[in-house]
């Protein structure tokens, strides 16, 4: 099954980090995130994914990861929240103040309600537009923007370097009047 493994390995190399980060953000727990990760990529093998381009593949992976995370929640309604220091793969920035800030950001995001957290992750970490997130989550784009706005209020200035909001969103609106489906 050489070609299958090559495909799988390339997919993991290209998008593995994104899937893992999303799962970690959703589940806040490395063991669960790894379970979801494995599950997502094994499911990929049942898909006619060979012809997909990189973005299609990534969107499918993230969406499947979200679904798997939801399934995981059904079994474990309450989980402990991991702090940034407990992440094994995490390299702390050399600068202590910056490290402090990032740890606080992580903590704040981790304690956001799940719906806000998912949107924040897809928007800020993966750089998806609100329409794309809407398509991925199956909710209206306006809802995604509302969630983002609420999340920003809670995150205050922790995000940093990002004077965003209105112009960003309206720009995207004008450019893409119709949400492009992620799948």
């Amino acid at each position: 099954m050489t070609e299958q493994e090559t495909f799988l390995r390339n997919a993991m190399e290209a998008h593995g980090d994104a899937v893992y980060r999303l799962a970690l953000c959703r589940l806040r727990n490395t063991a669960d995130a790894e379970d979801v990760y494995q599950d997502v990529f094994l499911r990929l093998l049942d898909q006619p994914a060979r012809d997909w381009d990189g973005e299609h593949l990534k969107a499918w992976l993230l969406r499947t990861a979200l679904n798997r995370c939801t399934d995981m929640h059904r079994f474990r309604l309450r989980q402990p929240v991991l702090s940034l220091d407990q992440l094994p793969a995490m390299a702390r920035p050399a600068d202590a103040a910056e490290g402090e800030q990032l740890a606080e950001l992580w903590d704040t995001v981790a304690h956001l309600p799940e719906k806000l957290r998912t949107v924040v992750h897809l928007y800020y970490a993966e750089g998806y537009r609100t329409e794309e997130i809407a398509a991925m989550l199956g909710v209206p784009a306006a809802t995604v923007r509302t969630r983002l706005r609420r999340a920003r209020v809670k995150l205050k200035d922790l995000l940093g370097g990002f004077d965003n909001e209105r112009e960003q969103l309206s720009q995207a609106d004008a450019k893409y009047p119709h949400p492009r489906r992620a799948e």
């Binding site: 050489t2 090559t6 390995r9 390339n10 290209a14 593995g16 793969a89």
Partner: protein, 440 residues
């Protein structure tokens, strides 16, 4: 994308080490269960004796490249058959996963996948890049590599537990290294027995024996913190640029030898319509499927071309050589500006200049020994039928005639009337300069 703290935070988080290998292992196990019969030849229940072998065996996915052997030139020229025509030999690549041998069938080269490798500081690195010597009437085989070393790999089947224990004892005593696998705990076991040979060896010929590339322990540097796959690749790179000399003696006492130049790297892989994996003799781009391995090129059998377009080193990915969506494309497309100079890829004679609706203005060059090149969709030509051209001589200009949507050259290579992958006919210096472009 806008920079922000959350993104910065997330960029520090990576997939944990070993997770990808675990997924690959799970995938392989699932597949093996689903297709138990197909994999019977080499069941994936390796009895692993250390994490190192596990990672190597899993991380180095195999494939085999098909490279077209040009008809060995010497036998064809001059019309008089060479004296030693009765006997000849060649190398085939060995695909460890399926147990199949793959004949070289491109420009005299073969690609050796890094199959079931094994490595440790004590035993060195058995890269899993395997080949076999084939031919009629061979008595002895001499192999020599000018860098690193070689090993012999044999498969023993139907071993009892006692025999396996003996193999392991022998290994501990410094004997051959073995990789034992079997269908289940109780079934007879199989073993791949690997014997290090040093940098050269002479042995009696055995068609079943496979030889592989081995990095001796003193040259193998294992950094325990390094990713295992990266370490294995770095180790395989020992052979980049090395030369392998194969000398055989035949039953009638005659000798022949061939020298192969080795290259290593991420060889680009391509999926055929039927799901088979072909490796292309070119480096893979970032997003492309690839197989890491050694690529061997016969110095005598291979024929090399010059790049046929001045000022463009791009190969279109949108319409590659091979069968895509059921239609066969017999060449590679090289996008270039209208009017760019087309150069003869090698010395030859113009045998045909013509026009048809599909290829537009096209020109056929005969290079002898059944090797031809075709240049299609051209604007015009500067040579006529019957003229003799030298390699690198201008023969025409790039255009967009025939079934074409933009100025490009469709470059085809034909051997005895069969289309070949043109990329195999450019040496590594040219291949390394090529860029692939996807048409949107």
């Amino acid at each position: 994308m806008n920079e922000n703290n959350y993104r910065r935070l997330m960029q520090n988080i990576h997939t944990p080490a070993g997770l990808n290998d675990r997924v690959l292992f799970a995938a392989r196990r699932n597949t093996a269960q689903a297709e138990g019969k197909r994999l019977r030849k080499k069941n994936w229940r390796p009895v692993l004796r250390g994490a190192v072998c596990a990672a190597c065996a899993l991380a180095l996915v195999l494939g085999t490249v098909t490279l077209v052997p040009g008809r060995s030139g010497g036998e064809q020229t001059g019309g008089t058959p060479a004296v030693s025509l009765d006997y000849s030999f060649g190398l085939t690549a060995y695909a460890a996963e399926t147990g199949e041998t793959v004949r070289p069938n491109a420009n005299g080269g073969l690609a050796l996948d890094s199959g079931s490798g094994m490595a440790s500081e004590e035993i060195g690195h058995y890269t899993g890049c395997l080949f076999q010597v084939t031919g009629e009437g061979i008595e002895t085989v001499s192999l020599a590599v000018n860098r690193g070393g070689l090993y012999r790999s044999e498969t023993r089947t139907g071993l009892t537990t006692e025999e396996v224990r003996k193999l392991w004892q022998a290994e501990e005593a410094g004997g051959p290294v073995c990789n034992v696998y079997g269908e289940s705990e109780n079934a007879p076991m199989n073993a791949e027995v690997m014997t290090a040979l040093g940098s050269s060896t002479t042995e009696d010929f055995d068609p079943e024996v496979r030889y592989g590339f081995w990095v001796p322990p003193e040259e193998y540097e294992a950094d325990p913190d390094e990713d295992l796959r990266q370490a294995a690749w770095a180790s395989i790179d020992t052979f980049d640029g090395a030369r392998l000399t194969v000398k055989v003696t035949f039953a009638d006492g005659t000798e022949q030898s061939k020298t192969y130049t080795l290259f290593t790297g991420r060889l680009r892989a391509e999926y055929g319509e039927d799901g088979t994996l072909n490796m292309l003799p070119q480096l893979a781009g970032d997003q492309e499927p690839y197989v890491y391995g050694i690529y061997a090129i016969s110095e005598t059998d291979s024929r090399w071309f010059q790049w046929p377009v001045q000022d463009s080193r791009t190969v279109s990915l949108g319409n590659p050589y091979g069968t895509v969506n059921g239609s066969f494309h017999s060449g590679i497309d090289i996008p270039a500006q209208e009017g760019s100079v087309i150069l003869a890829a090698a010395d030859g004679t113009v045998t045909e200049v013509g026009f048809d609706a599909d290829r537009g203005n096209y020109l056929r060059l005969d290079h002898g020994d059944g090797l031809e090149t075709v240049y299609a969709h051209c604007r015009d030509f500067t040579v006529e039928e019957g003229s003799t051209v030298r390699a690198g001589e201008m023969i025409g200009a790039v255009g967009s005639t025939g079934m074409s949507t933009g100025p490009h050259l469709c470059f085809q290579v034909w051997q005895d009337g069969t289309a070949q992958n043109p990329v195999a006919y450019f040496d590594s210096e040219i291949r390394d300069t090529l860029t692939a472009e996807r048409e949107d």
